[in-house]
């Protein structure tokens, strides 16, 4: 099944300067009851965004009207905790295409890549620079080039290379699907099963 294509993202960013953001914060368990993949963006960071009565909490970054964009910049160890793919769906549904951090939890990273939400892992030094620039000027434009594997602030001449697995790179750029790939392995799987047991 074809998914959205990604190649280059040029956007302003939302700075979420917090470490160890776990998937229970990204989307609390009580919002995991949908049987579809859409609509989770409504409740992304629910308990940080809204008070129990549903009023926006003014201090939370997503409630600052000046911060908008397709790029979320977050602190170290982003996406730890539960395996819920709903966390990736929620971020993507909200409109994010890229999450930048100095470290991602494993399962979240896989889930994000399976949903064309690109996790971009940068050095801690570069992460601090990104936060500083975006905090200084919320209109700072960040460019993520998947082909070249670079993240940069062109106006400031800041740039860093990021790693992405070659297989996942093809998937993300072409909207290629893991299940299609595995189904194409059918004969190999059947051969394996014959020798197995």
């Amino acid at each position: 099944m074809k998914k959205k294509l990604l190649n280059k993202i040029v956007s302003t960013a939302v700075p979420l300067d917090m470490e160890d953001v776990d998937t229970d914060q990204i989307i609390p368990a009580r919002f995991l009851k949908s049987i579809g993949r859409d609509g989770f963006g409504l409740n992304v960071f629910r308990d940080w965004r809204y008070d129990p009565e549903g009023n926006p909490k003014p201090h939370f970054i997503l409630n600052h009207p000046q911060y908008k964009g397709e790029i979320l910049i977050a602190g170290n160890n982003f996406g730890c905790g539960s395996s819920r793919e709903h966390a990736a769906w929620a971020l993507s549904d909200y409109g994010f295409k890229v999450v930048v951090s100095s470290f991602f939890a494993d399962i979240f990273k896989n889930n994000a890549l399976n949903n064309t939400l690109l996790p971009v892992q940068v050095s801690n030094k570069f992460l601090r620079k990104l936060f500083a620039e975006v905090n200084k000027n919320h209109q700072t434009i960040i460019e993520v080039d998947i082909e070249k594997q670079t993240i940069s602030i062109p106006k400031k001449n800041l740039s860093e290379f990021f790693e992405i697995n070659p297989y996942k790179k093809i998937c993300v750029i072409n909207g290629y699907d893991d299940v299609d790939y595995l189904i194409s392995m059918k004969e190999k799987i059947a051969d394996f099963e014959k020798k197995y047991e």
């Binding site: 099944m1 229970d24 368990a29 308990d47 129990p52 170290n76 730890c80 395996s83």
Partner: protein, 474 residues
């Protein structure tokens, strides 16, 4: 003469399950057992429908209901419409795709990581996945077991394989004798407090050492269960006689000649001498106290007699900010540098895939027997499966709990994750035998102190954070 390269246990199991490996690509890994539940599977079944494919091997797929189910009045219709819909959807999907389901009311229903082992589905040398991060639990039997996302659930349903990058290996060795009142939950909380919630990221952990070898299967499961809380992909323990004795004669365990053949195979599941791990850590069991967490992630833990850190103990501004936010959420800002001992609590939760097996309830019952909870306290007793409920009743433990004023419930995930009817109210403190103390995990605004079943039992009869060792000496 040909010498095979010495391998770790993880490498042995991994290598024997690789269907195909192209350079630079993830491995196509064969999966022996796929466990599913109502929350992370509906979108995967929908994907199968869109592609027009069936479940690849229904003999290797097992379903149960756990996250959404109420633990009270389980024979009645689920009140919450969204929960009901998700549970009904699982039933529909299992019927349509011919997947075995242990649904509500079935004698085998329960938390997915409790029922796999107790039914003998979980067996050494297997690869096991489930759309739930605590799938690492099954590693206690010498399996490669890990949590996956819904897209990956679809991969496994459609092909019995999954695309995976091989993680690095880590050996965590714990030697020595555990002190009185110290259990496997304390071991794992201790390790996470030392290496943080990201200390294991990128690794698959093997737990070794005399302290691990001396543990029961239930206790080993508790340790492996929380491997994910240090960021590890999973954790496993080499199978031994304790493992074999546990599995023997369970419902879906091999029988007769099959059993003998399997035992021969399982005995080879050890890390070779001279095999190299990518990383090794060593701990001394004797240094571990009963543990308790004070913050908003499982790494924020300490010995029960310890003191909460102060903001000055942290170096960077973002660490300081994080710590202060956690303290504010926990209502402990003015408790920095003080003990948690004696802190009054409102709830005690005895349950979850970490600690809701029969052995856990036996330990709790020993401490609670002939005692009563204080009036203000609510104590949830939530067995992990319908079979554990039955066993509790058979041994008369339910009488001990109800006499103590505890609230006996049916099987399910319950207040571990605030997804069903059981929740801890905002601002209230709960000593919990579960695995996560994240903000809002047990309900919006709920404040969680993670601890062992014994430490939770002590809190359940005092209404305060207590040192269980005092009760054991009496």
């Amino acid at each position: 003469m040909k010498f095979d390269k010495p391998k770790t246990l993880f490498e042995k199991i991994w290598d024997s399950h690789v269907v195909y490996q192209k350079d630079g690509y993830p491995a196509v890994l064969y999966i022996d057992t796929h466990l599913i539940h109502e929350v992370t599977s509906p979108q995967a079944f929908e994907g199968l429908r869109k592609r027009g494919v069936k479940v690849y091997d229904t003999n290797k797929t097992w379903a149960t209901m756990d996250h959404n189910v109420p633990t009270k009045d389980q024979d009645k219709i689920i009140k919450e419409p969204m929960s009901r819909k998700q549970v009904e959807m699982l039933r529909t999907n299992c019927e349509e795709f011919s997947v075995r389901l242990f649904g509500l009311g079935h004698p085998f229903q329960g938390i997915v990581h409790i029922i796999g082992p107790e039914l003998g589905i979980t067996q050494p040398g297997m690869t096991i996945v489930c759309g739930d991060s605590h799938t690492s639990t099954h590693g206690a039997f010498g399996t490669i077991a890990f949590g996956i996302g819904t897209s990956e659930v679809e991969q496994v349903l459609a092909t019995q394989t999954i695309l995976q990058y091989k993680p690095k290996t880590m050996n965590i060795r714990i030697d020595g004798m555990l002190g009185q009142g110290v259990s496997s939950k304390d071991i794992i909380l201790y390790i996470i407090s030392k290496i943080s919630t990201s200390g294991g990221t990128g690794y698959f952990v093997e737990y070794t050492g005399t302290a691990i070898e001396n543990l029961s299967m239930e206790a080993r499961m508790t340790i492996c269960n929380m491997s994910i809380e240090m960021g590890a992909r999973g954790g496993l323990i080499a199978p031994d006689q304790t493992t074999f004795d546990y599995i023997k004669r369970r419902k879906f365990a091999p029988k007769g000649k099959d059993w003998d053949k399997k035992i021969e195979k399982w005995k080879k599941l050890t890390t070779d001498k001279n095999a190299k791990y990518d990383k090794e850590l060593f701990f001394d069991a004797a240094e571990i106290e009963p543990m308790i967490t004070y913050g908003t992630n499982p790494g924020m833990g300490m010995g029960i007699t310890g003191t909460i850190p102060s903001v000055d103990d942290y170096e960077t501004q973002s660490q300081k900010d994080n710590f202060l936010k956690a303290m504010e959420y926990m209502g402990l800002t003015d408790k920095q540098g003080s003990k948690l001992l004696g802190k009054k609590v409102d709830y005690v939760f005895l349950g979850s895939c970490t600690n809701s097996r029969i052995e856990d309830f036996r330990k709790i019952a020993k401490i609670v027997k002939n005692k009563k909870k204080p009036d203000w306290l609510h104590v949830f007793v939530v067995p992990g499966s319908a079979q554990v409920v039955k066993q509790i009743e058979k041994e008369g433990l339910d009488k001990i709990f109800t006499d103590a004023g505890f609230d006996m419930r049916g099987a399910g995930c319950s207040a571990c994750l605030g997804m069903n009817e059981d929740k801890i109210p905002a601002g209230k403190y709960c000593v919990s035998t579960s695995n996560r103390n994240f903000q809002g995990r047990q309900g919006p605004g709920a404040r969680t102190f993670l601890a062992s079943p014994m430490t939770a039992a002590a809190a359940a009869i005092t209404g305060k954070v207590s040192d269980v060792r005092k009760f054991l000496k009496l």
